[in-house]
């Protein structure tokens, strides 16, 4: 057949010697490892500074008191902690139910076009700069209601959380095997009961994980708060009518002041914020590990 007509075989000698190829290989792999170290550099540097300087400035006063004139030692950022807690609570109320219900839609009810569009725009929402989201809420709630407020800030954070919660929860719901749904339907349960009583509880741990991570993310957001809550030096729990403080906002406002006392307190606040985010993320991971669906 054809092979017989192939003719004389052309000779070739390998030009690139094996040694050089292996050397290139080693260098390439070394560079990749270097990239990993390079990425860790800023992380390690940041954590080192935060822990060192933050721990030094951290005290009960700092955590519990409101700011005081620097000459008195600066006071603290207790009002910012309280503010952050309030804002996150509102954000959770806004973002979590909406997000989880959207996730339920995407995983259980979405058909064809609408489903694809919703999922696509949910992805798009994650890409919107948080400052922009904040400005929109500024227009909607601050201008309309006449003042900066915790409500505005909480809503802004909630809207930022929304797509994260939706996508994360949807992934968890999709992990629930169809056989469970079928079993419920086979027992005669209507679809909504199957969803609420079987599917969601099975995915519950994963959904909680997704939500905790979203809250951790929201707790670090500063830009939207600049334009919705403005920040404050006083304790307040009012949801409307007055600006409120928040931890990341406090850090921003203090870190740029040429006052060493304020800067020290900013490090302490950064330590508190990072610790909070890390603890939350760890918690989310631990909870997530306990989530198992077996077939």
């Amino acid at each position: 057949m054809a092979a017989a007509t192939a003719g004389a075989r052309p000779r070739f000698q390998p030009k690139r010697r094996l040694g050089r190829r292996k050397a290139t290989n080693a260098v390439a792999i070394g560079l990749m490892g270097l990239c990993v170290l390079l990425a860790l550099l800023p992380l390690v540097s940041l954590l080192a500074y935060v822990i060192e300087r933050g721990a030094r400035a951290l005290s009960l006063t700092a955590l519990v008191h409101a700011p005081a004139p620097s000459v008195d030692g600066g006071g603290g950022f207790g009002q910012a902690i309280v503010g952050s807690v309030i804002l996150l609570a509102i954000a959770a109320l806004v973002g979590i139910p909406w997000g989880v219900l959207t996730a339920v839609y995407l995983s259980e009810y979405a058909r064809g076009r609408l489903g694809r569009v919703v999922r696509f725009f949910s992805d798009v929402l994650t890409g919107i700069p948080t400052l922009v989201t904040g400005l929109v809420v500024y227009g909607l709630l601050v201008v309309a209601l006449g003042s900066f407020s915790a409500l505005a800030g909480g809503v802004a954070l909630g809207l930022i959380m929304l797509p994260i919660v939706a996508r994360g929860s949807e992934e968890m719901l999709n992990l629930v095997p169809d056989s469970l749904r079928e079993a419920g339907l086979a027992l005669g349960m209507p679809k909504w009961k199957v969803t609420l009583r079987i599917v969601v509880p099975t995915a519950a741990k994963g959904i909680v994980t997704a939500n905790l991570l979203a809250i951790a993310r929201a707790s670090g957001e500063t830009a939207p708060l600049i334009v919705t809550v403005l920040g404050s030096n006083f304790f307040t729990t009012k949801l409307l009518g007055t600006p409120i403080a928040a931890l990341p906002l406090y850090i921003f406002q203090n870190a740029t002041q040429p006052d060493p006392v304020k800067i020290r307190l900013a490090w302490a606040a950064t330590l508190v914020l990072i610790s909070f985010v890390l603890v939350l993320s760890l918690l989310a991971r631990l909870i997530g590990r306990g989530s198992r669906v077996t077939e």
């Binding site: 054809a2 192939a6 075989r9």
Partner: protein, 256 residues
């Protein structure tokens, strides 16, 4: 150019699990040797140990020797071994972002060959040997993935022989192809063995009977046991008068 492969007391492990045990056989030069046996008995694992692809799996190890013309492949650099021992896989895997030409000469380029004239010569020679020159000679720019299954597999064969290996390993090369492509490739093997030593794993006994000169039969005695070489002999003898009763039972379809 082709050499014989001597396998001595070869056992293959994945971690603690022994997949293939105590294989000793000599694969003759310029021959097509078929390895047959039921699924999951280690045929592919054995094949892959011949060009050291088996050790790409983390935790894989071997005991024993595989001698290519007297030299243990495990004593050489694996990259060098794989140039001498080529492989064609069950599912055709041409590089989809490369043209036919680029696919065929991919191995040559790895070795630093840049001379365009030489590359074209080798490409033509390999494609002719693989029986593809008439179909594709004028269309060397076609994307590798645009071909039919049978063409892709013959492209992979051309790619493998372009680097001028001594041994060509084929892991169920026709199982994903239609009967016509299968026949074309089987015809090819008969020609290729003039230049290469060919080892083909196949679960299709009739194919083994058609194309091979020698046949090795592998199987697992019991679940959890490693695969073992049961019988290795001339193809004609294996299929008409096998010495081992297990071989006989497999050939006559009583299991597998």
């Amino acid at each position: 150019m082709s050499k014989q492969v001597e396998i001595k007391d070869l056992s293959l492990y994945f971690g603690a699990h022994r997949a293939v045990a105590d294989v000793t056989m000599t694969i003759g030069a310029h021959e097509v040797t078929a390895i047959i046996g039921p699924s999951g008995c280690g045929k592919s694992t054995l094949l892959r140990s011949l060009n050291r692809m088996h050790e790409l799996v983390p935790g894989a190890r071997h005991e024993g020797e595989v001698l290519l013309d007297g030299e243990d492949v495990y004593a050489r650099d694996p990259v060098a071994v794989r140039r001498s021992v080529g492989m064609v896989f069950q599912r055709p895997n041409p590089f989809p972002t490369m043209s036919v030409f680029d696919n065929v000469v991919a191995g040559l380029r790895l070795n630093g060959v840049r001379d365009k004239k030489l590359l074209k010569e080798v490409a033509e020679h390999s494609l002719r040997q693989a029986g593809m020159w008439e179909e594709l000679g004028g269309r060397l720019d076609t994307g590798g993935a645009r071909l039919s299954g049978g063409q892709q597999q013959r492209l992979c064969i051309a790619r493998a022989i372009a680097v001028q290996p001594e041994v060509l390993l084929m892991d169920e090369p026709c199982s994903a192809l239609d009967p016509i492509s299968t026949l074309k490739i089987e015809d090819l093997l008969r020609e290729l063995k003039n230049e290469y030593t060919i080892v083909i794993v196949t679960h299709n006994m009739q194919q083994a009977a058609r194309v091979s000169d020698s046949t090795a039969f592998f199987t697992i005695e019991k679940a959890g046991e490693p695969g073992r070489l049961i019988e290795y002999d001339d193809t004609e003898k294996i299929f008409t008068k096998p010495s081992n009763p297990t071989t006989e039972r497999y050939i006559s379809g009583r299991f597998g």
